[in-house]
């Protein structure tokens, strides 16, 4: 692993918690125990400050300004692109496109790449454990463009079913494999390198939905050799309103624009327009300047702590959480993959997921409940709704114990 991912500061969770102002808040008179970071993470002081600093000191529209404020804002905006490129170990900064969120990133690929590089009769494969964001855009592509959509099965443990995957690829029609890098429900990591090699050997490109994985683990797009990688800033301790699409340069260069308007243009007449090169071709209109700079600060923050240290911390939390939940009778954790991240989704015999969430909330503990934007997966796992506790770099073992006590109380109520 390269230097850039090394920890430069010893991991000390109580020090880290001081970086997050919200963690001192109270809810219903209780200390907030925030176990919903997989939905969206809290923001460290440095991210908030970076955004404030832009607005107070160096704000203007970017790129087209010939004045100082605009040059400074452009510098900061483009510096964030460099940070993302370094974070993913992209070959070039031009491979980083800024979007609103991972959902838009996937839609961009489905519209622009999907409707030009893929042809009617080609097939796209996704897995049974996709977030809606990595399922519905491909259904739309199927309906609008005549591409076939295939669903690769998962095992009951929540891992890729390789037999099923091989079967989907057997007829040679598959041109794109779009898969999560870590399930937001089951917590399973998918074996990205192996998947990419598998798909490439069969002539298909690969998109990885890195929304969850990017938060928990160092990602090296060159080592993975992945073609597209997407994630959202808000889950990586950054602001809302900013997402990332990484794609290999030669792929981006061949893609037509998706949204059109200012900034993404080379020249325009009343009759026609020609496009700027990537990444600008894909960034129409005024970008999320403040948010992009905020994301840059979030990446700096995460890098300073070190993805390896974060991963180790979260492994400890996940192990502790699994053990704790295993001790609760009638509780079922969805998925049992070997390689899993800090997301624990579960059902309880006595209490419905919504009741669990509400009753935990009364104790100051925030978990999510419902279908987790993965409705078909819920059906696949045989449940209609489930509760989910998810961990971040600021989560503590004590918070997981608080969850355990909270669940015990709920069992009491419904006993």
């Amino acid at each position: 692993m390269v230097d850039r991912k090394m920890s430069t500061r010893a991991f000390n969770v109580s020090e880290i918690r001081k970086d997050f102002p919200i963690l001192t808040q109270q809810v219903h008179g209780r200390k907030l125990v925030f176990l919903d970071s997989a939905a969206s993470a809290q923001k460290p002081r440095v991210v908030i400050d970076a955004m404030v600093r832009v607005m107070e000191m160096q704000y203007a529209n970017v790129h087209r300004g010939l004045h100082w404020m605009s040059e400074r804002a452009s510098d900061a905006y483009e510096a964030a692109r460099d940070k993302v490129a370094a974070f993913l170990n992209a070959r070039a900064r031009e491979e980083i496109v800024f979007t609103r969120n991972a959902t838009e990133s996937i839609n961009l690929v489905a519209y622009s790449y999907g409707r030009t590089a893929l042809r009617p009769g080609d097939a796209v494969v996704v897995s049974e454990m996709e977030h809606h964001a990595n399922l519905v855009p491909w259904q739309i592509l199927r309906d609008a463009h005549g591409v076939e959509l295939r669903i690769a099965k998962i095992t009951d443990s929540g891992e890729i079913d390789w037999e099923s995957l091989e079967a989907q690829f057997a007829d040679g029609k598959v041109k794109l494999l779009a898969m999560t890098h870590m399930s937001n429900v089951l917590g399973s990591y998918t074996p990205a390198e192996r998947l990419v090699a598998f798909a490439h050997a069969r002539g298909a490109k690969v998109l990885l939905d890195g929304c969850q994985a990017i938060v928990h683990r160092a990602v090296d797009v060159q080592a993975l050799d992945v073609d597209f990688y997407v994630f959202s800033g808000h889950k990586l301790y950054g602001p809302t309103g900013i997402g990332v699409l990484y794609a290999k340069r030669e792929i981006l260069e061949a893609m037509p624009p998706f949204l059109t308007g200012g900034e993404m243009i080379e020249s325009v007449s009343y009759e026609r327009a020609t496009w700027a090169p990537p990444p600008y071709r894909f960034e129409a209109g005024t970008p999320a300047i403040i948010e992009t700079i905020g994301l840059g600060a979030a990446i700096d923050y995460v890098q300073a702590i070190g993805l390896d240290a974060i991963a180790a911390h979260e492994r400890e939390l996940t192990g502790h959480g699994l053990k704790m939940l295993a001790g609760i009778e009638g509780l079922r954790v969805l998925g049992s993959a070997q390689d899993r991240g800090g997301v624990l989704t579960f059902t309880m015999e006595d209490a419905h997921a919504h009741d669990i969430a509400t009753l935990l909330d009364r104790q100051g503990i925030a978990v999510r409940a419902g279908r987790h934007c993965a409705e078909p997966l819920m059906g696949r796992m045989g449940v209609s709704a489930a509760a989910r506790a998810s961990f971040a770099l600021y989560t503590t073992v004590e918070e997981i114990d608080a969850l355990g006590e909270g669940l015990a109380r709920i069992k009491q109520i419904f006993k």
């Binding site: 219903h28 008179g29 209490a351 419905h352 997921a353 919504h354 009741d355 509400t358 009753l359 909330d361 009364r362 104790q363 409940a369 419902g370 279908r371 409705e375 819920m378 209609s384 709704a385 109380r409 009491q412 109520i413 419904f414």
Partner: protein, 140 residues
């Protein structure tokens, strides 16, 4: 156990969710309605018999089941017009959080007002019942 934890899930709610008194699909009924909360997949079916006898099949959280059951109890013998008025009053309770003495046991659900996302759990059975009663009105 702290009172804040329990206040929303009063004994009545827990009891009715675990052992509802009006659950089950009757052999015969004169109208039915259904409700589904697309957000979570919870669903409820309501069966109405002339004279104002109501049963339900609820698949979902404690709030949904208890609300369906307390509704069936509250509307027993009531006319469609009375049910409609009662529904309005009930929705006011779960929106404002202020109890309405006239509603009796239904007030157990007033705590839901604090949870916007849960209000729909409490009101879904009423929407299903309204659908059933619309059917009655159309077919005479």
């Amino acid at each position: 156990m702290s009172s804040t934890v329990q206040e929303l899930y009063q004994a009545l709610i827990v009891e009715r969710s675990k052992a509802p008194r009006f659950a089950g699909r009757p052999e015969v009924f004169d109208a039915q309605g259904r409700g589904e909360n697309a957000m979570c997949g919870d669903r409820v079916q309501v069966f109405w018999q002339r004279g104002g006898v109501v049963h339900h099949e609820a698949h979902g959280c404690a709030i949904l089941t208890a609300s369906a059951d307390l509704m069936a109890q509250a509307v027993a013998g009531k006319s469609p017009a009375e049910v409609a008025a009662m529904r309005g009053a009930f929705e006011e309770v779960v929106t404002s959080g202020r109890e309405d003495l006239a509603l009796g046991d239904l007030n157990a659900l007033a705590g839901v007002a604090q949870y916007r996302a849960r209000r729909r759990c409490a009101t879904l059975p009423w929407a299903a019942l309204e659908e059933a009663l619309r059917e009655v009105q159309v077919h005479g």
